[in-house]
């Protein structure tokens, strides 16, 4: 396929996927602590479903969406030609390898490189889908290292509610239910803040959006 045709197919597929996401979840974005303006940001969200980044991407206004790239697992997205097309070309994902022993590139370096190109990022600091009873799994350290490398970029917590009810793990057909995405006030790492304090603070900031008052 010619590159022009592939790019067109990617746009159409992206539109089809986000239209489907809207049909199923009528996503509602609540901008609680920050405005939807086109500034460079790292959106970090809870992760309970494979549809999380699609929904977050869909809920962003179009000018923000165009420059926002999800960070996703290479070991999932490169397993078939279709997934690879969706991951790489439709969503322009930053594909990182979760297996330290197998990887050729450092994930944080890859994310920093994407930031330096002017992109915003969507990341899931829990590192895997949460199917436990706990609201959040402990955060991986990537978020801290990323914040430390580019301290000027806003870290925006986003709580995604209800998507795990739309598509519980192991089900094949989704149920249409309304999902809400709450965007909180941006965080920055303090100069003398340790990794653990920062990750705990980020996790708390995300949890506080779960039931906003």
């Amino acid at each position: 396929m010619s590159p022009v045709l592939r790019a067109f197919a990617a746009r159409v597929t992206g539109l089809a996927i986000s239209t489907f996401a809207r049909f199923m979840t009528a996503p509602r974005a609540i901008w609680l602590g920050i405005e939807p303006i086109p500034a460079q940001r790292i959106y970090f969200a809870n992760h309970s479903s494979n549809g999380d980044f699609v929904l977050l991407w869909t809920a962003l206004p179009a000018p923000l969406r165009r420059r926002t790239r999800p960070v996703a697992a290479l070991d999932y997205w490169l397993t078939s030609p279709l997934r690879s097309f969706i991951g790489r070309e439709v969503f322009n994902a930053v594909l990182i390898d979760r297996r330290p022993e197998a990887r050729a590139e450092d994930p944080v370096a890859q994310m920093v490189a994407a930031l330096d190109q002017g992109s915003s990022l969507i990341i899931f600091p829990e590192g895997q889908r949460n199917s436990s009873d706990a609201a959040l799994l402990p955060f991986k350290s990537g978020l801290y290292h990323l914040a430390k490398s580019r301290p000027g970029v806003d870290l925006v917590p986003v709580w995604i509610a209800n998507l795990n009810r739309v598509m519980p793990k192991g089900e094949v057909i989704p149920v249409p239910l309304i999902c809400t995405l709450t965007f909180g006030a941006p965080l920055h790492v303090e100069p003398d803040e340790t990794k653990d304090t920062f990750l705990a603070r980020a996790s708390r900031a995300l949890l506080e959006l779960k039931a906003p008052t």
Partner: protein, 314 residues
């Protein structure tokens, strides 16, 4: 073929909306030049949403039976999505919920489109009522079982069954009224929604005594009486486009406006219990589909059956 009376009604609604838009704009310039008066901003959002809703309805009317059935099937879908977001269910109900959206909803509208009255009038109250709990029970979770299946059934009755009685009006056979049934739908929606709007207007102007302070702060006796009487008066004046005599039209209008009011009250009680203000967010200024349709949903089956019983030959 679009009946001429329908065009008159649409032209009338169009005129009301033009007037409302002009008044909204004057209020905005006078009271909310910086967009900081929430009442005026909400009023204008509501008026703009009314334009969209009336245009969608008019397009469906022009497209005829398939258009109207499809429009209400989509409304049922959006309403069900709002309702089931708030009901109690767990993973064991996944397949029953999938069935609500992708089996029961299309089937109900299919029975309607094929004019199978004996089926669409009992499909949800009998077959869905008996079979859906079976699907949930097969997954083995007993936690809150009765609450889960009852709330799902309630969602089906409100969002699919009752709502489908609006397009069902197209299939009545009223001697001397052939080819004009779409007027019944336009008339029902117009009178009920006018009553809602006039309850809001009278309530804002004169409202003092709350009907049910625990349920809704905005529903007052002054608004209720003013709204239903205004809508009944206008509906009676429009008797010539319906199969009803003036007196019958007045009775029907009173019936559907009062049912519409109770619909709003019942749906408010549910929202209050679940701690929300609106069912959804897709209709700017109004909330969700259910916020706008609650009164029509309660009025439609009664209007349908009374009309069928007294005037229709089917």
């Amino acid at each position: 073929m679009t009946p001429p009376h329908l065009l008159w009604l649409l032209a009338g609604v169009g005129t009301i909306l033009v007037l409302a838009s002009v008044i909204g704009e004057i209020l905005r310039v006078r009271l909310s030049p910086a967009g900081d008066n929430p009442v005026v901003e909400n009023l204008n959002a509501r008026i703009n949403a009314w334009w969209v809703m009336v245009i969608c309805l008019a397009l469906a009317f022009i497209a005829g039976k398939p258009g109207v059935v499809l429009l209400f099937a989509l409304c049922s879908f959006a309403a069900l999505r709002e309702f089931l977001t708030l009901t109690t269910h767990n993973r064991a109900d996944h397949w029953s919920l999938v069935a609500c959206f992708f089996l029961i909803l299309p089937l109900q509208y299919w029975f309607l489109a094929t004019d199978w009255y004996g089926m669409y009038s009992i499909f949800i109250p009998v077959y869905a009522f008996l079979l859906l709990p079976v699907v949930s029970s097969l997954r083995g979770s007993t936690k809150d079982f009765l609450i889960r299946v009852s709330e799902t059934q309630w969602a089906l009755m409100i969002c699919i069954y009752c709502a489908s009685h609006v397009p069902a009006l197209l299939y009545l056979q009223i001697p001397g009224f052939e080819g004009r049934n779409v007027i019944l739908i336009a008339y029902l929606i117009f009178v009920v929604q006018l009553s809602d709007v006039m309850q809001y207007v009278w309530g804002k102007l004169l409202g003092r005594t709350k009907v049910a302070p625990n349920l809704s702060p905005s529903k007052t006796w002054e608004g209720l009486v003013g709204g239903t009487l205004t809508a009944t008066a206008v509906g009676t004046a429009l008797y010539w486009m319906t199969p009803f005599s003036p007196l019958e039209a007045a009775g029907m209008c009173l019936l559907i406006t009062v049912m519409g009011f109770f619909g709003g009250l019942v749906m408010s009680a549910i929202k209050r219990d679940r701690g929300i203000k609106d069912w959804g967010h897709l209709i700017a200024g109004h909330g969700g589909f259910l916020d706008r349709l609650d009164s029509v949903i309660f009025a439609a089956p009664i209007f349908f059956h009374v009309t069928r019983w007294v005037w229709s030959t089917t």
